[in-house]
Amino acid sequence: MTSETGSEVRFEFDRDVLGVDVELGSITLTPKLIADYCAAVAETNPLYTDEAEAKAGPHGGLIAPAGMLPSLTFGRGGLDPKVKFGNTQMFAGSRLETFAPARPGDTITAKVQVKEVFPKTGRSGTMLFIVRRTSYYNQDGTLVAASEQSIVHREV
């Protein structure tokens, strides 16, 4: 375990897990899966919902909304940095980057890693952030999207 000490802040975590990808599983994006997602979130963009319009669009056919990828259950997994700090945790935000279109019929494989662990201070005191990055690849190994989620540990 690695200790990071400052004059007031002391926290420990397992630095060996940083950057290590763990495969969570694969899901095929069927047309029904995409359509059900769009219906669930009231997505009406014709790029995702209208075959004829999507064919005339920039991608030459229907694509899946990138936002649906983090909502899919690929499976549990990922390494635990074993953070020793604070007595509570909270969701601290997420980001999504898109790199290539995901299409109906694509099989998407998700891999997750602990990207970074870092402290920061604010009005309410010291916090420790854990950022996990999930990368989504299609069947050709092309990275189509990546999402990052931050969890904050703090003392309350």
């Binding site: 400052g6 004059s7 007031e8 802040v9 935000g93 870092f118 402290p119 920061k120 201070t121 604010g122 009005r123 309410s124 005191g125 010291t126 952030f129 950022v131 931050s150």
Partner: protein
């Protein structure tokens, strides 16, 4: 009761206004504003009559010396300079003129850098340090001075007006500045586009480089102000 800031309306055309404190998606984990987004916003604000001449990106706990915004700055006609916001044992500190020697001496990722050493080294290495959002609890200088009696021997300036601080916090920063004869600056602490330029520092001389900024902070005439006070009067 909110204390009126000692700047008010002024002959703004005589000043060069810089937002000395901002964060972008390029390097701050909690920012949502892009550099280009900030510049577009400033151009739009100028059309409404506000004067924002430039910004300084002060990313959290990091400084990449290879980053250069001169092209995009020229494209939008906005001065874009770079500093850093570091975290010390008396709160956050803005550093302008980040020298390689500073990065070697201090771990920018630390949240408890020794403040006196940082202030001193920043100046020694040709830069200038400012106590950020000085009136905020925990991460502003005022509380540490009041509660622990920390020395201000190495501190020349504080962020007296911060766009993310409330009125009471900014007043507390003003009290600290006045009580200890500290210079005061203004900055938005923007993390999102619409906050950029909310608070500024008005300099008597134009500033187009980090060297000029450091020189003015050390020796020049400046004061904090709100963007509303930059609207050209008829």
């Amino acid at each position: 009761m909110h204390r009126r800031q000692p700047y008010g309306r002024s002959t703004i055309a005589d000043y060069f206004t810089l937002d000395l404190h901002s964060h972008s998606t390029d390097a701050s984990d909690d920012a949502g504003g892009t550099v280009e987004g900030y510049l577009k916003w400033i151009v739009a604000r100028r059309k409404k009559g506000f004067q924002i001449d430039g910004i300084v990106l002060t990313e959290h706990r990091s400084f990449d010396p290879t980053v250069d915004y001169s092209d995009i700055a020229a494209q939008y006609g906005v001065t874009v300079l770079r500093g850093a916001e570091l975290e010390t044992d008396v709160g956050h500190v803005l550093v302008y003129g980040v020298d390689e020697r500073l990065a070697q001496e201090f771990d920018f990722a630390s949240v408890s850098l020794p403040y006196a050493d940082l202030f001193r080294a920043a100046k020694e290495f040709g830069g200038f340090a400012v106590g950020a959002h000085a009136g905020r609890p925990r991460i502003g200088l005022a509380e540490h001075v009041a509660d622990r009696g920390v020395s201000l021997d190495f501190v020349e300036a504080i962020e007296q007006l911060n766009g993310g601080s409330n009125a009471a916090e900014n007043d507390r920063a003003t009290d600290l500045a006045e009580a200890h004869g500290l210079r005061g600056v203004g900055g938005s602490d923007a993390h999102f586009v619409s906050a950029i330029g909310r608070c500024l520092t008005a300099f008597r001389r134009p500033i187009h480089s980090i060297e000029e900024l450091v020189e003015e902070l050390r020796e020049g005439e400046y004061h904090p102000m709100r963007v509303e006070d930059t609207v050209k009067s008829e």
